[in-house]
């Protein structure tokens, strides 16, 4: 690849469904290889932003540049790990089928997978600790294992930018640890990662940058700068609790919608 400035640049974008605008006039830049936590209350537009970044949702206005070129001029350099509810788990595919799908962009639509593709799939499965489940139907795995299968797929995709939607919600400790290890591994390979999460402490401790959203940009920068009380109050309102020892909790037992 000859694209030198590995970076993601979002310029004044507005996105939404039909008439409804979910995200208004959002701008930010991410340097290559950064780990970015995307934080905000339920319905703040985190998933919507991700859908726009993969090109699933057309922009109402503004531009997205990847490596300085407009979104859509690259073949599959963005990978996406979907939320659990977005996948049809009853579909007849095995774990290795799912991971091999990550290679489709490189294989081409008419060719068979090469030995190298198979090796990459095998390595990705091993790295996520699910190589022994390769021939199991995806629907028969536990929730955490299913998520690791999708993480393995995004690894096999060899993306420049990886988007993960709520990978730490409702999964076991092993999967959470595997996800975090993957983030560190990808950083070494200069892959930019955007991860949406509710876990503010995780965002503060394991990420380089934090993007705080609530239908618009509230704050963007290092965790120390972003997690100032006034920013959090703006984003979360009353549902934020800051304990005396500095631990931050977001009370979202009952999402408004």
């Amino acid at each position: 690849m000859s694209h030198i400035p590995h970076r993601l640049e979002v310029k004044n974008i507005s996105i939404g469904y039909g008439e409804k605008v979910i995200m208004r006039d959002l701008s930010f830049q991410i340097p290559h290889g950064a780990r970015v936590a995307v934080v905000g209350p339920n319905g703040a537009g985190k998933s919507t932003l991700f859908k726009a970044l993969v090109g699933l949702l057309p922009l109402k206005s503004g531009h997205i540049f990847i490596h300085g070129e407009e979104l859509g001029s690259h073949q599959d350099c963005v990978a996406y790990v979907p939320q659990r509810e977005e996948v049809d788990w009853r579909f007849p595919v095995t774990v290795s089928d799912v991971v091999m799908m990550g290679r489709y962009g490189q294989i081409g639509w008419l060719k068979r997978p090469s030995a190298r593709d198979k090796q990459i799939v095998q390595n990705s499965l091993e790295q996520m600790g699910i190589a022994d489940l390769a021939s199991q139907p995806i629907g028969q795995l536990s929730g955490g294992q299913q998520q690791r299968a999708f993480l393995a797929r995004s690894l096999a995709q060899e993306p420049h930018i990886l988007l993960m939607d709520e990978p730490f919600t409702g999964v076991d400790v092993t999967t959470q640890e595997a996800s975090l290890r993957l983030l560190d591994h990808l950083q070494k390979r200069e892959v930019t990662t955007l991860v949406s999460t509710h876990d503010l402490n995780l965002a503060a401790s394991r990420f380089d940058l934090v993007l705080l959203l609530n239908h618009r940009l509230i704050a963007y920068g290092t965790p120390g700068d972003v997690f100032a009380k006034e920013n959090l109050a703006q984003a979360f309102g009353n549902s934020l609790l800051v304990m005396e020892n500095g631990v931050m909790l977001v009370d979202e037992c009952c999402p408004p919608d």
Binding site: Q75, D76, V78, F91, V93, T94, M101, G105, W109
Partner: protein
């Protein structure tokens, strides 16, 4: 042995058998998408929606298959058009177009004097009336549809299993979805002659649903489904010959029997 060979002495039985096996295999393979994408309602709707095309062709004394084909493609693309970007939910769009097309078909038919024979063949199939031209048409169209499915196996897999991955891979999902609808429409048209529009939906769903119970990957599911479709057609046609029942019904009932066996097997296995 003679029991099996006797019907084949008649040329119309030979042609009927070939036609039903082709259609059985075709419906079974397209049916895997119908079952996996939850389009059973669409298959049924599509089958009925081609009625106005058939009626218009009949009035104009044109080829009924051509009329059916045009109507099917128009309905398929209209469903894609109305449900684009979620303006109207897909099943709602199907419900509206299905009812409208069926009503138009019935309205057109009610203006005719003598329609009984040919149209009952359209509704329930007339596998023994397949002539040489029909057979070539069925074989040619089926081959074209199956070839398209083979070439687009991976894109169809991705848009069915994970639309978001399809978007990140920059697949033209909208185009592929419409193409799949058109292929489905053509499948229904091809099955007109053997099982008729009323039973085509069953041939789309039943063998594929049976194969879903028995397999765990897409390609094996397609192959098992095709095998069940072919077997149902052969067994059904013999039953229709010896017990003198309508061939379309016999084929569908055989396929249903296979489904019940598959269901039973799955249940016993999970105990």
């Amino acid at each position: 042995m003679s029991l099996l060979l006797e019907p084949l002495a008649y040329q119309f039985m030979q042609r009927g058998l070939i036609a039903s096996v082709i259609v059985g295999v075709l419906c079974a393979i397209m049916g895997t998408y119908v079952v996996l994408r939850g389009m059973a309602f669409l298959g049924d709707a599509m089958a009925h929606a081609i009625l106005p095309g058939v009626a218009i062709a009949y009035i104009l004394r044109g080829d009924l298959l051509v009329g059916a084909g045009v109507a099917a493609v128009v309905v398929a693309l209209s469903i894609g058009f109305f449900s684009r970007e979620g303006t109207v939910k897909e099943d709602t769009a199907i419900g509206i177009l299905f009812a409208a097309a069926l009503s138009l078909g019935v309205a057109l038919i009610s203006t005719m004097q003598t329609y009984a024979v040919d149209l009952s063949h359209i509704l329930f199939g007339d596998v023994l009336g397949v002539n040489k031209t029909d057979l070539w048409l069925i074989a040619g169209l089926s081959l074209a549809i199956l070839l398209t499915v083979a070439l687009l196996f991976k894109p169809f897999l991705v848009i069915s299993f994970d639309p978001v991955l399809a978007a990140t891979l920059r697949l033209p999902a909208e185009l592929l979805r419409n193409l799949m609808l058109v292929l489905l429409a053509l499948t229904v048209v091809v099955s007109l002659q053997t099982v008729g529009v009323s039973l085509a939906a069953a041939m789309l769903v039943t063998p594929a649903a049976t194969a879903y119970l028995l397999t765990r990957r897409l390609l094996p599911m397609m192959l098992v489904s095709a095998l069940i479709g072919a077997l149902s057609s052969i067994v059904g046609l013999y039953l229709s010959y010896y017990f003198n029942i309508v061939s379309g019904s016999a084929i569908v009932l055989t396929a249903t029997l296979f489904f019940l066996l598959g269901f039973l097997w799955k249940r016993l296995k999970s105990i």
